[in-house]
């Protein structure tokens, strides 16, 4: 029996971790932006599903992966507009509208899949791209630098989102709208417009998350492909304290434990499989109880804004 800590087992764990973390990263980073502006979008899973189907279908019928990716982003954008309309303009109760969006995305993706495709089919997804030189570094190389483009972009997105939120005017506006919309409004920032923008960016990223599943990691579509990953992504935003680096940490932690528990099962360690499957969830809660969450949530999170109302 292989030792748990032999080098290739660790390499395998890290490899799977990166694959598992990719959709979480896209979706959670997107949700971070939306929540920083004060809107909770619980419908991320629905967006991921409908976009995953769109990407899969377009790739299946046209053979173009990039077209599929673009379609997924556009579907995400469209659903983001819908969510913004309901949650920002119509000021709906955001938790509930999110659930509605989730059910819509779940149903629509299954419906379209059944009507347009009918049976499970695979596509050729984004192939792994080895980065020259870096990809040859022993041990680290094959894990980090031989992945597909959507995987690389997910990780590169972390510093991009960080930079956008911390170092640009737009990011400052987003944060102010989420912290104190009344003050932002009095300074001439259009609260609704910023929130629309943030939710749409978030939804577009959720769309790309879906595409990463159907045309990069799994290369197929089936009913309920995401199996609730969108909700985990939302949870990770809270775990990460609305900071992109924190979200990265959360996604990696969750994914590495998930990957680890699979190895535990494969290597035949005598622990009931249900307990192994529980581990990522248990450890995520445990991690939060021991680390102090320094970031406070955006003060206006989940509060629709009405000028003159507060």
């Amino acid at each position: 029996m292989k030792s748990m800590f032999s080098l290739d087992v660790i390499a395998g764990i890290l490899n799977t971790m990166i694959a598992l973390a990719t959709p979480f990263l896209y979706a959670a980073l997107g949700e971070t932006i939306a929540q920083t502006s004060g809107v909770v979008n619980l419908g991320v899973d629905g967006i991921m599903l409908l976009s995953a189907f769109a990407a899969f279908y377009v790739t299946l019928t046209t053979g173009s992966l990039w077209l599929g990716l673009l379609t997924a982003a556009l579907v995400g954008l469209a659903l983001g507009l819908l969510m913004s309309l309901v949650s920002v303009t119509l000021k709906a109760e955001q938790g509930v509208s999110g659930i509605g969006l989730y059910m819509f995305g779940l149903g629509m993706s299954s419906l379209l899949f059944k009507v347009l495709v009918g049976t499970v089919k695979t596509v050729r997804g984004f192939p792994p791209v080895a980065i020259p030189l870096l990809g040859d570094i022993p041990f680290v190389g094959p894990i980090l630098f031989r992945n597909s483009i959507p995987v690389y972009s997910a990780f590169l997105l972390v510093p991009v989102v960080w930079w956008m939120l911390e170092k640009t005017t737009l990011g400052m506006k987003i944060k102010s709208v989420g912290q104190n919309p009344a003050a932002a409004d009095s300074l001439g920032i259009s609260v609704d417009r910023i929130r629309y923008l943030s939710v749409c960016i978030g939804a577009t990223l959720a769309g790309i998350a879906g595409a990463s599943l159907s045309i990069s990691l799994l290369n197929l579509f089936q009913d309920n492909l995401t199996a609730g990953q969108g909700f985990i992504a939302v949870a990770l935003v809270y775990f990460g304290g609305w900071s992109p680096v924190g979200v990265l940490g959360g996604a990696l932690l969750f994914s590495v434990v998930n990957s680890f528990q699979l190895w535990v099962q494969v290597l035949g360690v005598k622990i009931p499989s249900s307990v192994a499957v529980m581990l990522p969830y248990l450890l995520t809660i445990a991690a939060l109880t021991v680390t102090v969450n320094r970031m406070r949530q955006p003060a206006a999170l989940n509060k629709p804004f009405q000028r003159g109302e507060n």
Binding site: K2, D8, V9, G12, N15, T16, A19, L20, P23, S110, F113, K114, G118, T119, V120, K121, T122, L213, L217, L218, N219, L220, Q222, D223, N224, L225, T226, A227, Q229, N258, S259, L262, W263, Q265, V266, L267, G268, S273, S274, V277
Partner: protein, 323 residues
Amino acid sequence: MKGKLFLIAGLLIVVLAATAMAAPFRIAVVMPSATTDMAFSQSMWSALLSVQKAMGGESAVVLKYSENMYKVPDAAAAVRDYASQGFDIVIAHGSQYGSSVQEIAKDFPDVTFAWGTDVNTFGLPNVYAYTAAAEQGGYVNGVMAARLTKSKKVGVTGPVEVGDAKTYIDGFSQGVQSVNTSITLSKTWTGSFSDVALMAAAAKTHIASGADVLTGSSQSVVGSIGAAKDQGSVLWFGTQSDQAPLASKLVVASQVYDWTGMLRDIIAKHKAGTLGGITYTLTLSNGGLKIAYNPSFSLPASVKAAGDAAVKGIAGGSISVTP
């Protein structure tokens, strides 16, 4: 006068023909997952479709279905609804529907209820029960897998250790053991029947640990098959439905649930007046279980022979597989 007679005769013939064209036979089925799941529900739905075709199409057999009925009270409502609409046979295709069938069947003594997978007809005269001895095909697959693995490592990606997922995998393990006890058989359970991403990750883990033959159960194994495809040379054994279309170069064989024989028998019995009371088990010997070899995969003759021998042995009774 003659003209009138001919007219009357003609009308009589038309009327007689119309009544002779028996009212179509009506079958309804309630399923816990989608008809396209490449697994449990699809196996029943495609069997029903082929029975319908064989019996003369939609004019002879009317089929209605309700899928994705994983909420049991909703499935109960569906079963009751179809029964009250006067369907001849209502199939409750899911083991969680048992208590519902037990209650509803009493209220509709003229309707035949068929449910599975389980062996309990509740002592009711209008309930048929059915199950599949999935462990049998599992054993055969295991025998072939043991002979095909070069790395002597075989991986099993399972969903939840219950029902025919468990029995299939138990049979598979026994099949592998019967060929070579030094082969490493690793099992993973994802804790879900639908989490494709986790199933794919599990398969990748098996592959990374050296397994070159994989199997598994549930609709989410499409993830495992995808992972095998990504790697390029890992072989796959399937169950419940023929999974060859998903990876034509890598799927060796699938155990297929063929419900058509059972369905025809139930229909015939219902027409003859026996509305229930029998338990059907799909086995290799009665043809309910079949091993569908993938024609695009070049299976060495010796391995096929071993598979055939296993089938013969189980069907004949010389090999016994108990989950």
